[in-house]
Assembly symmetry: C2
Homo-oligomer: 308 residues x 2
C-alpha cells in the first residue's frame, strides 16, 4: 500500500472557528504562511459564512488575499449561495461544501435539514465549476459516527451521503467524527462499507480527539488503506475546559505517528511545534496536544533509535 | 486470543509520586477504595522509599493499614533492603522491584547502576519469599524504550533484564516506556523479541502518554497478544505544564478502548470518571485525560450504537 499520506490542515478554519478568541486577518495569514513553511500542502483557509454567526471567520476574503500567491491548496468553506458568491468574487481555487448525517445537527449548524443541504450542494457544485475555473471541491460529512443530539449514527447514512456528494461532483469527501465518539471498531466498520467504493482513494477521515481515540482511529484507517486525514495543529478547536468540547486531532501527533511508520509527509515536526507555540500565544489558552505540551528537546523514537 | 485483559492501576504510586501535591494517608486510602469500587483488581498501593526522597509516598504503611482487609491485590514498591524490611514488617502481600535499562537513569532514580540493582533484586526476592508467605513479586524495567539522558534504548537490553527478573523469581514483569517515546513500531519490535518467551503471558506494558501515542501502542500490543497493561486514572503523574513531563496513560481511556473491542474488564467507566473528578480536587490541578476532560454526559460509541 502507498507510503504517501495527504494531510489536510484544518486549524485555520475548523480549529479557529471553535476558539473563543477571534484572530485578526493579519494573524490568520501569518498562521497559514507558517503552516505552509512547515511543509503542509493542503490547508483550510477560512469560511464564507456570516460574520455575525461565526466572527472568528470574518473577512476570509482578506485571508485569501494574503495567501493566494502561494502554490499550496487552500480551501474555503461555502455553506450556501451567498457564500458561493463571495468565493466566486474572491476567485478562490478550492471550496468545501458541508452536510451531516444528523438532521438536528445540520439544522443547528447551517439551518437546513440534511436533505435540504444536499439540494443546496447539488445546485452549488455546477455553479462553482462554471464560475471558478478548475475549482477543487471537497465535501464534508459531519456527525458521521455520532451526533451530540441524536446519538450514534448508522454508517450506512454516511455511505449514502458520500455517494451523493461524489455524484454531484465533489473531488474529495471528508468523513467527520465531529464530536469524537468513534471507536476503532466503528472506523473499521465504516471503512469496510467503503472499501469497494470507486472513490475510495478520495475519501478522507476527520477525527476529533474528544476521548483520546483519534490516533488509534487513524492507525486503524491507515491499515485499511485510507490515505487522507484532516488534523489541526496543536489540537486546536474547542476549549479544553468546556463540557463536551473537543479539538481536532493534533497535526504534530499525526505526523509523529506517520513518520514512525515510514510514511513520507514532507512536514517538519520542529516547524510544527514552533507554530503551535506561536498560535498558543494568539488564542490565549493552553493547547491540548500532548506532543506539544511535552516540549521535547530531542525528537527521538524509542528502541529503534531513529531521530525524526 | 483471550478477551480478558488485566489492568494494573498505578495512579496511587507512579501517578501520585510525580504530582506536586502530597496527599494525606487518609486521602490515599480513600483513593484506593474508590478505585477498587470501580472494579479495578490490581492497584499499586505505595512505595517503601525514604520520605525525604519522595514525600508523596510517606507512610505507605498507613495506606496498607487502611486497605489490607480488601480482597484486591495491592503492590508496594520495594527499592532496597530497607524497603523490604518495612514491607515485611507491614506484612504486605505484593511487592514490586525496580530496575531500568539505562544506567544513568537508574543511578539518578535509585542510586545504583543497572547491574547493582539486579544484584540487589537477586538478594531481595528470596528474602521476600521467605518472610512474606505467598508474596507476589512484580519487576519493573524502566526506560525500556528511551531514556531522558541516554536517548533511545535497544530492545535487547530489556529482553535480557526481563529474563533475569523472571529467573530471579518475579511473577510478572512490566516493561516501562517511562518517558513516553515509544512508537507502535518500537512496541512491535519489542514484542517480536518476546513472543516465544516462556513468560510471555506474564509480561505487562507500561506506557506514558507524553506524545499521545500510548493508546496506539496498547492497541498494537493487544494485537500481538499482550494482555496486561499499567495505567493511571486521569492520566495522573507529571505536571502538564512542566517541560518534558508526562503522565501515565489514562485508565478511563484504556477501559473505553478495551470495552469498544469487546474485552471484558469488569470496570465501571462512570465510577472511574467520578474518581478522576475527585482526585483532581486533591491534586489541585487539571488532569490531562481527554475522555475525562470531555465530561461525557452519555457514554456512547459512534456508529455501532452500543452504550458502554
Amino acid at each position: 500500500m502507498s507510503k504517501k499520506v495527504k494531510i489536510v490542515e484544518v486549524g485555520p478554519r475548523d480549529g479557529l472557528q471553535n476558539e473563543m478568541k477571534t484572530l485578526s486577518v493579519t494573524d490568520r495569514v501569518e498562521f497559514i504562511q507558517r503552516l505552509v513553511k512547515s511543509g503542509l500542502k493542503f490547508v483550510e483557509g477560512g469560511s464564507f459564512v456570516s460574520p455575525k454567526a461565526i466572527p472568528q471567520m470574518m473577512d476570509s476574503e482578506g485571508v485569501w488575499e494574503g495567501i493566494k500567491n502561494l502554490k499550496e491548496d487552500f480551501s474555503f468553506l461555502v455553506p450556501n449561495e451567498r457564500g458561493l458568491e463571495r468565493a466566486i468574487f474572491a476567485k478562490v481555487k478550492s471550496i468545501s461544501v458541508f452536510t451531516a448525517t444528523s438532521n438536528e445537527f445540520n439544522q443547528k449548524n447551517i439551518g437546513m435539514s440534511v436533505k435540504e443541504s444536499l439540494t443546496v450542494i447539488k445546485d452549488l457544485v455546477p455553479k462553482a465549476k462554471e464560475k471558478l475555473k478548475k475549482v477543487r471541491i471537497r465535501g464534508y460529512i459531519s456527525t458521521a459516527f455520532g451526533c451530540p443530539y441524536e446519538g450514534p449514527q448508522k454508517p450506512h447514512a454516511t455511505v449514502k451521503i458520500l455517494n451523493d456528494l461524489f455524484r454531484m461532483g465533489c473531488d474529495e469527501v471528508s468523513i467527520g467524527d465531529t464530536i469524537g465518539v468513534a471507536h476503532p471498531e466503528d472506523v473499521k466498520k465504516m471503512i469496510g462499507l467503503l472499501r469497494r467504493n470507486k472513490h475510495f482513494k478520495k475519501i478522507a477521515l476527520h477525527f476529533h480527539d474528544t476521548r483520546g481515540m483519534a490516533l488509534v482511529n487513524i492507525k486503524t484507517a491507515l491499515d485499511l488503506g485510507i490515505r487522507i486525514f484532516d488534523s489541526a495543529i496543536g489540537g486546536l478547536g474547542g476549549c479544553p475546559y468546556a463540557t463536551g468540547s473537543s479539538g481536532n486531532v493534533a497535526t504534530e501527533e499525526v505526523i509523529w505517528l506517520l513518520k514512525g511508520y515510514g510514511f513520507s509527509t514532507g512536514v517538519s515536526l520542529e516547524d510544527l511545534l514552533e507554530t503551535s507555540k506561536w498560535i498558543e500565544t494568539k488564542i490565549e489558552r493552553r493547547l491540548r496536544s500532548k506532543l506539544y505540551l511535552s516540549q521535547p528537546k530531542r525528537l527521538f523514537y524509542g528502541g529503534r533509535g531513529r531521530e525524526s
